[in-house]
Amino acid sequence: MEKIRVVINGQEAFFDEPVTILEAAKSMGIRIPALCHMKLEGTDFENKPASCRVCVVEVEGRRNLVPSCVDKITNNMVIKTNSFRAIHARQANLKLLLSNHPKDCLSCPKNLNCELQDLAEELGIRKNEYEGERMIHNVDEKSAAIVRDPSKCVMCRRCEVMCNEVQTVGVLSAMKRGFEATVTPAFNLALKDSSCVFCGQCAAVCPTGAIVEKDETYRVWDALRNPDKHVVVQVAPAIRVAIGELFDMEPGSITTGKLVSALKTIGFDAVFDTDFSADLTIMEEASELVHRIKNNGRLPMLTSCCPAWVRFIEENFPDMLDVPSTCKSPQMMMGAMVKSYYAKERNIDPKDIVMVSIMPCTAKKEEAIREELKNDGLLNVDIVMSTRELGRMIHLFGLDFKNLPESEFDNLLGESTGAAVIFGTTGGVIEAAVRTAYEWITGEELEKVEFEQLRGFEDIRSATVHIGDKKLRIGIAHCLGNSRELLNGVRDGKYDFDVIEIMACPGGCIGGGGQPYHHGDMSILQRRREALYQADREHKLRKSHENPMIKKLYDDFLGDVYGEKAHKYLHTTYRKREKI
């Protein structure tokens, strides 16, 4: 095929494909500022409604400026991205957006993380002659997970793509038209009253402060300065490979020891590892799987660690609520053990314990308040902070995170294995479960613990693992749209699996809605994933059932694995939810 020749800003280049002007320019090292456009590299998803008109460029022979994010190159196209006319139009369009935007940047949750703010600086906006009418909307703060402030919306529609196409949750949609237009749930409901699963992928891609996580840092400060409270914290596996990004460290830096030091300095009374309760989850979940297989129980069994996924199945597959494992998630198992076992061992009244979680997730905030997950009338977990919120706390505390010394998690609920740390990536939970199930079913030692066939970023993966003479057929999906497809296939008989792992976010928890912003750069997720696999390799123990502190927990407190007491504290139930 003949190559396509273009000239951009006097530079000549040839292309094989009719890519967009924006892509062509990017590959030539020419930056065209853009706002609404976002491409999730490595996936099919691209948001390009051409609504913001920031990326307009001049094309020779065309009367009007063209949006470079959608217009494709043609042979011998001559393009100017930096002509006076293009720059002036770009500035004017941005000023129009700014004229209907609250200017409370200093106290906005997205201050210094806002793409609109960055553009205002990049385009040298110093004054705005377009001051006009403002559209003011109510702030939706009703959910425990996500805050929506539509007054800050620039109608880029990125959240709509995530909610509808990637996740197929379908809660957010554009309403009304023209100046009155907003992106909201149906009937302007609060997210809490809608079918939102709180995955937070809308917040992960929002360029402004229109959708953000609910900030809980103030509640944590209050708990920490209350002398009557014993404040315990746990950290999820995906945090340690991402939080460094908030402190100028490379994506994929493993910061486990620094993280523990930071939490101890901030003043938590005990710092525990969600990896410990991930090991505990494997004990219960692998037992449940073996139990279901041996007793001809319901198969496939689905993992239940992801609260966005749990809510999704409750709303969309109410006829299949007997397929998820009854295991609580690692976050909730940790809370349940802290307020029972740990409280007893340390002789503390569970009512005086404040359990704080650091999670890569916004859905974990809503999970924590689920009625089904209470024990003895108490919430297992009291406050959930995202990676970003903890980052703010560490900044506020004035810690030089990058140069902190390494510390160890506290004893009793701090020990973990390599199987637990890979819980943070798609395929990790199932790999951890297989390592344990293999040894339990065959009674033999598993030599090669790494299951390459379970790893990867493909939408839906399947693999068969031979365990003795049993073939374990495994399905894996990440993102809820893929998960819907997988589960529809199970329902229709297209797929036949024994066990399925599902995580709601791209790449699993490493791409969670509460993680440092990736701004569409999916290579960041890959580096976080590699770091998790590296952390696994660096562990002495790599199978959950080898964790000595897990053995001690069962001996001293829980009794039998998958037994009566374990059921009370570590298992849960699901309910049908109305879809709106």
Partner: protein, 168 residues
């Protein structure tokens, strides 16, 4: 189950008829606007419960349905009166004091913020040019066109309809 939506307060006979219409549509998602048209014509307006019902019947998110309904000015989420008074505000009518006529209707009918008269018999809307500029200022009551309307005629127009309704 849900306190926000009172699904059983919908007129079940009409809902049944709308369902029958939906059943006959082959491409339900593609022809969603056709379905909404029928539903509005049949039900008079599109309350949120009916939108939710249709969303479930065609398997689209309620947010998409609500997005369509709020985008097109043809659709209304509020009940309309038996008589819809549409005052033309096109240029020709506007320069011939259409605003004064609109205001007079609103005053006499005690039109509330929902656009409905106090007794629910009338709804009042303003529309763009209806293509009868020769009759300016012109109004349309349901399908009936009345031209050369003056402020003083408004009371008579309303009284005629009210008398007709009473069966005088």
């Amino acid at each position: 189950m849900n306190k926000i939506f009172k699904m059983d307060e919908l007129d079940q006979t009409k809902v049944q008829e709308i369902q029958e219409f939906i059943d006959k549509v082959e491409n339900k998602k593609g022809d969603i606007i056709k379905i909404l048209h029928f539903a509005q014509e049949h039900y008079g307006y599109l309350p949120k419960e009916l939108q939710l019902y249709i969303a479930r019947a065609v398997d689209l998110p309620a947010s998409k349905i609500n997005g369509i309904v709020t985008f097109y000015s043809f659709f209304t989420e509020k009940p309309t009166g038996k008589y819809t008074v549409a005052v033309c505000m096109g240029t020709a009518c506007y320069v011939k004091n259409a605003q004064e006529i609109l205001d007079e209707f609103a005053r006499l009918l005690k039109i509330g913020p929902d656009g409905l008269s106090e007794d629910g018999l009338f709804s009042l809307i303003s529309v763009r040019c209806i293509g009868a500029c020769g009759l300016a200022p012109v109004i349309k009551i349901n399908e009936k066109i009345i031209g050369h309307v003056t402020k003083d005629m408004v009371k008579g127009i309303i009284d005629d309809i009210v008398r007709q309704e009473r069966g005088d």
